[in-house]
């Protein structure tokens, strides 16, 4: 059973969002890391880049394939997690903690309402 923390919001494309003030931290869900298995490389967006919700802004590579990560929200990239770049396995072992990917200063906080609740995401992956 994939872990779906109740204090986060989710995108259909398996990213999670943790909001603190007007900054959102983004990563991939436990379900996503379980599907990918061994993450061997993570490519994160540059600091200062403007992203729009739905933009492909990062890449996660497993042994077998490269997968695009889509930004669940619009805004400016303020931080990229160096730890997961130097130790990609963190995306598998701690997808909601030390395996986070990047932070965004929200340009349109109303977008958060369009994201899935934990229950909605749980339902989506249960039906998968």
């Amino acid at each position: 059973m994939a872990n779906v923390p109740s204090d986060l919001k989710y995108a259909k494309s398996h990213e999670w969002v943790r909001v603190s003030g007007n900054v959102a931290t983004v990563g991939i869900t436990d379900h996503a890391q379980h599907e990918l298995t061994d993450v061997v490389f993570v490519e994160l967006p540059e600091i200062g880049r403007q992203v729009k919700a739905g933009d492909a802004c990062a890449v996660v590579e497993s042994v077998k394939t490269a997968s695009d990560i889509y930004s669940p929200v619009s805004g400016e990239i303020t931080e990229a997690n160096k730890a997961v770049v130097s130790n990609p396995a963190l995306a598998n072992s701690e997808p909601y903690a030390s395996g986070w990917f990047y932070k965004v200063k929200l340009s349109n906080p109303a977008e958060l309402n369009a994201l899935l609740t934990p229950e909605q995401y749980q339902a989506q992956i249960a039906g998968a």
């Binding site: 298995t37 061994d38 061997v40 490389f41 490519e43 890449v59 590579e61 497993s62 042994v63 077998k64 490269a66 130097s86």
Partner: protein
């Protein structure tokens, strides 16, 4: 999609099923890295029932095969196999395969799953034009034959309990572990005859077992039980690919295709130019003498980066840097922890230690050409 007799077993073991060459096969059970490392350190068990099995027999079989395949089957004793290729008139590879001489006049060809139709059509066409065709019997038994591969340094510790021996055909041995590399023997398992060869596609010691489809599930279960105490794990196509890439074994559709010759692919060792006439000989002889337009090279990334993947561009470096070729196989190497691959470049660039760059999503990352195999077992 087609399913092997082990489909239910794959489901039971939690295999992640994907499409491969028209077959529904497990790409992994737990993780590609885990399964790959199990094969390198202990043992892994692969379902290879999707592969094809063709029997060619009769007084004309040897001559027919020597005309159709690149290697020399006359070198084979009964109970011995060889890696070989089947080429068209341009020397382009139709398939790479193993040919086993089971008895004096009976041969078993193990062919790629994705090429069964093409190979059978080609062989039947060549046989129709073969003068001594009435001396050759051809049987495609792919649909009713299954196979598994058990590979890894600890296989010798448990395969004897699974199959006590002695052999009842092929190479005469008291125990299956007495088979030498490339030898094949017929053994009795629960009263049923199976063929077991000391061959594999991983770079590790191991065996491949060919049996009628209805017996393969029992063989799989018995092997898993015998090997589990020694660390045997089921392994999927993902690990099969990373293992063979590390040791630079070609995969049809990547290193080999109908527009690539064995000489270009670096497997000219398996082309016996001196055995007499065979399909594609003239082109390959010319290439061996005069060189080729492209050459298969092995490469390794030199910095932390994403791994190389098929179709990524290979660039030369320095002054006048330009695209010189393409990656045909690539992955993150579980054994080495770095990106590795193979690709084609013009022969002038094909020297080991040549720095190159691999274009990954629009940016070029540094790599270096290395000798084959990329991974070598520590002595």
């Amino acid at each position: 999609m087609k399913r092997t007799p082990l489909y239910a077993a794959h489901q039971r073991l939690g295999g992640k099923l994907i499409e491969f060459g028209g077959w529904e096969m497990p790409v992994q059970y737990t993780s590609i890295t885990d399964e790959h490392l199990a094969v390198r350190k202990a043992a892994g068990l692969f379902d290879i029932s999707h592969m094809g099995e063709v029997l060619i027999s009769g007084a004309g079989a040897e001559a027919f095969l020597n005309q159709t395949l690149t290697n020399d089957v006359r070198k084979l004793a009964a109970g011995q196999g060889q890696y070989t290729l089947m080429c068209n008139e341009r020397g382009g590879v139709i398939d790479d395969l193993y040919a086993y001489r089971l008895t004096d006049s009976e041969y078993l060809l193990i062919i790629n799953a994705s090429r069964i139709e093409a190979d059978v059509a080609w062989l039947e066409r060549q046989l129709a034009g073969f003068a001594r065709r009435s001396d050759v019997k051809f049987q495609n038994t792919s649909d009713t034959t299954g196979a598994v591969a058990v590979q890894g340094p600890r296989v010798v510790e448990f395969i004897g309990s699974f199959c006590p021996g002695p052999s009842t055909g092929g190479t005469q041995v008291a125990r299956v572990t007495d088979l030498k590399k490339n030898q094949v023997g017929r053994f009795s398992l629960a009263g049923q005859p199976v063929w077991i060869s000391r061959t594999g596609y991983t770079g590790e010691d191991g065996f491949e077992i060919v049996a009628p489809g209805q017996h393969i599930e029992a063989i799989w279960n018995q092997l898993l039980a015998a090997g589990q105490p020694y660390g045997l794990k089921p392994a999927g196509l993902g690990a099969r690919d990373t293992l063979r890439t590390e040791v630079c074994y070609p995969l049809y559709g990547h290193e080999l295709d109908e527009n690539t010759t064995p000489i270009e692919a670096g497997v000219g060792f398996f082309v016996a130019l001196d055995k007499g006439e065979f399909i594609g000989r003239a082109v390959m002889a010319e290439q061996k003498a005069k060189g080729t337009g492209k050459k298969l090279v092995a490469l390794k990334m030199t910095d932390r980066s994403a791994p190389p993947r098929p179709h990524y561009a290979i660039w030369s470096t320095g002054q006048g840097a330009a695209k010189i070729g393409e990656v045909v196989s690539g992955t993150q190497s579980p054994s080495l922890g770095i990106g590795i691959g193979m690709g084609y470049v013009p022969p002038a660039f094909a020297k080991s230690n040549t720095p190159v760059e691999i274009e990954i999503r629009g940016k070029r990352a540094p790599a270096v050409l290395v000798p084959k195999p990329i991974y070598r077992k520590p002595d």
